[in-house]
């Protein structure tokens, strides 16, 4: 499939921006990993030293809870972080269905809590990493709620734990107390620095994310405008094409009439003139001449018939009227869901093509009206023929219409006119739904004639 220039441009821009975002997210992950290893190592070594130098009791008294053993601090933290990084990658990159993706996210949050606990909450920057992951796939209705809930939950945990330090030192400070004043100041400064850098990275990431979202929106808006313009042009073109087709058809008709009917009539007129002269001089010749005129008239009639053939609707052209109606009702029923029954009491034996077309049009128009204006679900179509009169009855169960107010705009006038041309009649009334009745005299002569 060939891409339009718009699509290509959009794709390219997305790749560029996404590349930047990805790089920054990777940086955030690697940085957090580094900090966590550093802090876990520091705490692990310090705790080991505290045990060795017999300061355990005093140290424990300063802590709000029992920390993990030194080796566990290091390995639990690093293990949990690696898992978190992996899950984060899966969450962001893989095309997962929603449920596994949410599970992935939940696991990430749990791991985040595990890491914070095993570090005795000495480093909460990991929350930002998880929030960055959360924000990354920000879309959909529930995601916003989910996101807010998850973020609030994480921060509630952190704050609750910090609140529990009121009577104690924060655990990290308790670890630093082991050292002399000067190295202690350095350690605290470095710890603060590490947290701040993480914050800066996170804010930078957020900015980039917001910018990307903004650009995405602008791109969509511009594409929409372009689409709108193309649509307008298409509509104008369709109108133009229609009028061109109409003109062309008119011209064709004119040509057709001129070629067939005009030719025949001219021939007939000339033949009749000749006959009028011959009538008195040579009656035998005049008779001969009249036979010729009749031939011309018949040929003209054939040509007219052929032209009319060309103007008939597709189905009617290919099929007899009965099958054509059956097929049309079936297609309409299939496409709209309206139930249509087509019943034939007695099928008229002799119908002219123009009569067939009128009947076909009445069925078509009636069906459309029942659906469009009556909102009907059922439509009964009945055809009958009796003593040279054809009856067509359409009864629906729709909402009907106020007959007095009814403007014959729904194609009714058109139907009436076409029926009148063929000495037919159209009647309609509204009781339970809307009922339409078309009456048409059968034309024996024409049918035998043709």
């Amino acid at each position: 499939m060939k891409r339009t220039p718009f699509q290509q441009q959009r794709r390219l821009a997305k790749i560029l921006d996404a590349g930047e975002l990805h790089a920054l997210h990777d940086l955030l992950t690697i940085y957090n990993g580094m900090v966590i290893v550093l802090i876990a190592g520091f705490m692990s070594i310090t705790q080991q030293k505290i045990i060795q130098t017999m300061n355990a009791h005093a140290f424990l008294a300063q802590l709000p809870s029992l920390p993990l053993p030194p080796a566990a601090i290091l390995f639990d933290t690093i293990g949990a972080f690696l898992l978190l990084a992996l899950l984060g990658r899966i969450y962001r990159e893989a095309a997962l269905p929603p449920l596994p993706r949410y599970l992935c996210l939940a696991a990430e949050i749990i791991l985040c809590i595990v890491i914070m606990r095993s570090l005795s909450l000495a480093y909460d920057g990991i929350v930002l990493l998880v929030v960055a992951d959360l924000l990354h796939r920000y879309s959909g209705r529930h995601q916003l709620i989910l996101l807010s809930a998850a973020m609030l939950g994480l921060y509630a945990i952190v704050d609750y734990n910090i609140a529990s330090f009121t009577n104690h030192l924060s655990p990290f400070d308790a670890y630093t107390v082991y050292y002399a004043a000067e190295p202690r100041a350095w350690i605290i400064a470095i710890h603060h620095g590490l947290t701040s850098v993480n914050l800066v990275l996170f804010v930078f990431y957020l900015t980039l994310l917001v910018r990307q979202n903004h650009q995405e929106k602008q791109r969509v808006a511009s594409l929409n405008a372009q689409l709108e313009e193309a649509n307008a042009r298409l509509r104008a073109y369709a109108l133009e094409a229609e009028s061109v087709a109409e003109t062309r058809e008119r011209n064709r008709l004119a040509r057709e009439i001129h070629d067939t009917l005009g030719h025949a009539l001219t021939g007939i007129a000339a033949g009749l003139d000749a006959t009028a002269i011959l009538m008195d001089i040579a009656p035998a010749r005049a008779k001969e001449q009249l036979t010729k005129v009749k031939d011309i008239a018949l040929r003209g009639l054939k040509d007219v018939r052929r032209s009319v053939e060309k103007l008939r609707p597709d189905d009617l052209e290919q099929l007899p009227l009965r099958q054509a109606i059956e097929r049309m009702t079936k297609e309409f029923s299939d496409s709209t869901g309206m139930k249509i029954t087509f019943e034939v009491l007695a099928w008229p034996q002799r119908l002219r093509p123009d009569q067939e077309e009128v009947l076909y049009r009445v069925v078509q128009e009636g069906m459309t009206n029942a659906r469009r204006h009556g909102h009907a679900t059922h439509l009964d179509i009945t055809v009958g023929a009796r003593r040279g009169i054809v009856y067509l009855l359409l009864a629906d169960d729709g909402c009907g219409a106020d007959i007095t107010q009814l403007k014959k705009g729904f194609g009714l006038r058109h139907m009436q006119e076409r029926l009148a041309l063929l000495h037919g009649k159209l009647r309609y009334w509204s009781d339970q739904g809307f009922t339409l009745e078309a009456i048409l005299p059968e034309n024996e002569e024409a049918s035998t004639f043709l």
């Binding site: 045990i51 355990a56 009791h57 424990l60 008294a61 802590l63 709000p64 029992l66 993990l68 566990a72």
Partner: protein, 444 residues
């Protein structure tokens, strides 16, 4: 032919792999089915926490371990011996930080809150409830209550042994002065009267050389005053309460009988002091041979309850040694069984009476014990003590206070009250000021 073909098929790699797996399965199941020894680690310290010499610190626990291992064939109970009492607290904290806490361990007396607040100890209420063999009502109330957390009331430790604080009486001295042994329900006034009577100069050198009491503190008076010093949650104190004030006044009156002189421990050892409050472990240790020689030589002694104030009771504060289960132990049920063996089982607690200076915490053992076993071999029919009386002391014993700022609060109070007793402070409002100062500390 068929058999040959089948044999040939046997050499295919898939068949060999299957065979190998089958072997592995058999060996693995054999290994699994083999009974494995479970190791239960116990944390203990050497020496008695009651401040009395003890021949073999591990005698009681060794006895319990032996019985426990006999009852549980695939369990081995081990402990690290030689950790001194004064190093134990640090040692245990170190083990906790290193993640190597023993499964069951004795609690250092001051560290109960340290360990319960940090989730180091496993809560025992559920274990006790699910155990049909154990009824918590079998314990004396005070020692059991000591194993409950002050805040939540959850049980975190069971008492192993305990000692009540009692009044030691120099029977020889009282007999010489013609004073009968005071009854168990004697009062401060009785106590003060006897002290006034016996305090005098016997050799005529102008200095007092016979005294009423040694080591009786204002806290002993407070305990028997009928009013507690601190609210149960440790957030308020009642120093300004009239009953407490009366206890302090009584201590002051007792002090004044000494006419400015101070009594030394040696005076008591030499038989020149009529009364001395002491824990019961000391009585049981020094009463029989050989420790008797070291302590007292020339007088008979006995123990009775502490005298009571006008509104108070003859209660004895009971000190308790607690044992708990580590929250991290993989063998919680087994640890519970062992804890029960140490603290609850009747046979063990009966042994405790013989192997330790302290008293069992389970009811029904002291009453059944022979007086000789309880009071030492020197106890004789002249002593008015009966095992039932000791059991009653235990039943009615009071619980020592325990809350986060307790030691600081009591330090401040002792400093101020000592000033009062030595007359360097006017009593007016002193107790009110003290109460305010202590309350400020407690609310911190």
């Amino acid at each position: 032919m068929n058999i040959l073909r089948r044999l040939r098929r046997c050499r295919t790699p898939r068949f060999l792999l299957g065979l190998l797996l089958a072997y592995l399965f058999v060996f693995a199941s054999l290994y699994e089915m083999e009974p494995k020894t479970t190791i239960l680690r116990v944390g203990l310290f050497a020496g008695s926490i009651w401040g009395v010499p003890q021949g073999d610190s591990y005698a009681y626990i060794d006895e319990v371990i032996q019985n426990f291992e006999a009852a549980h064939p695939h369990v081995k109970v081990i402990y690290q011996s030689g950790i001194r009492k004064q190093d134990y607290s640090e040692w245990l904290s170190g083990r906790a930080l290193a993640g190597e806490l023993p499964d069951v361990f004795l609690l250092p007396p001051d560290d109960f809150d340290l360990y319960t607040n940090r989730g180091v100890l496993a809560p025992l209420d559920a274990l006790a409830k699910d155990d049909p063999d154990l009824d918590l009502d079998d314990f004396y109330p005070a020692p059991l209550a000591y194993g409950r957390s002050g805040g939540t009331g959850a049980l975190y430790a069971l008492p192993v042994e305990c000692v009540p604080r009692l009044m030691f009486v120099n029977r020889t001295l009282l007999a010489r002065e013609g004073i009968p042994l005071p009854p168990d329900d004697w009062t401060w006034d009785d106590f003060l009267a006897i002290c006034r009577e016996v305090t005098r100069d016997t050799d005529g050198d102008g200095r007092l050389d016979q005294f009423g009491a040694y080591g009786y503190t204002w806290q002993d008076a407070v305990v028997t005053s009928g009013q507690r010093l601190f609210r149960a949650d440790g957030k308020a104190s009642y120093f300004a309460d009239p009953l407490i004030e009366s206890a302090i006044r009584f201590t002051l009156a007792l002090q004044q009988t000494l006419q400015g002189q101070t009594v030394q421990e040696r005076d008591f050892d030499l038989g020149r002091v009529a009364f001395r409050p002491f824990n019961f472990a000391a009585y049981r240790t020094y009463q029989p041979y050989p420790w008797r020689i070291k302590k007292v030589t020339n007088f008979e002694w006995d123990c009775i309850r502490l005298p009571r104030g006008p509104e108070g009771k003859n209660t004895s504060p009971i000190e308790t040694l607690l044992m708990g289960i580590s929250a991290q132990t993989p063998e919680r049920q087994l640890a519970w069984e062992f804890l029960k063996a140490v603290c609850y089982e009747k046979e063990s607690q009966e042994q405790l009476l013989h192997l330790s200076a302290a008293l069992p915490v389970r009811r029904g053992i002291i009453e059944d014990a022979a007086p000789a076993a309880l009071f030492g071999s020197a106890a004789d029919e002249r002593s008015g003590r009966s095992p039932q009386a000791v059991s009653r002391v235990m039943e009615e014993g009071s619980l020592p206070d325990r809350f986060p700022h307790y030691s600081e609060a009591i330090l401040i109070a002792d400093r101020e009250i000592q000033k009062l007793l030595q007359g360097s402070l006017q009593e007016t409002n002193a107790m009110n000021r003290l109460q305010k100062e202590v309350n400020d500390l407690l609310l911190k």
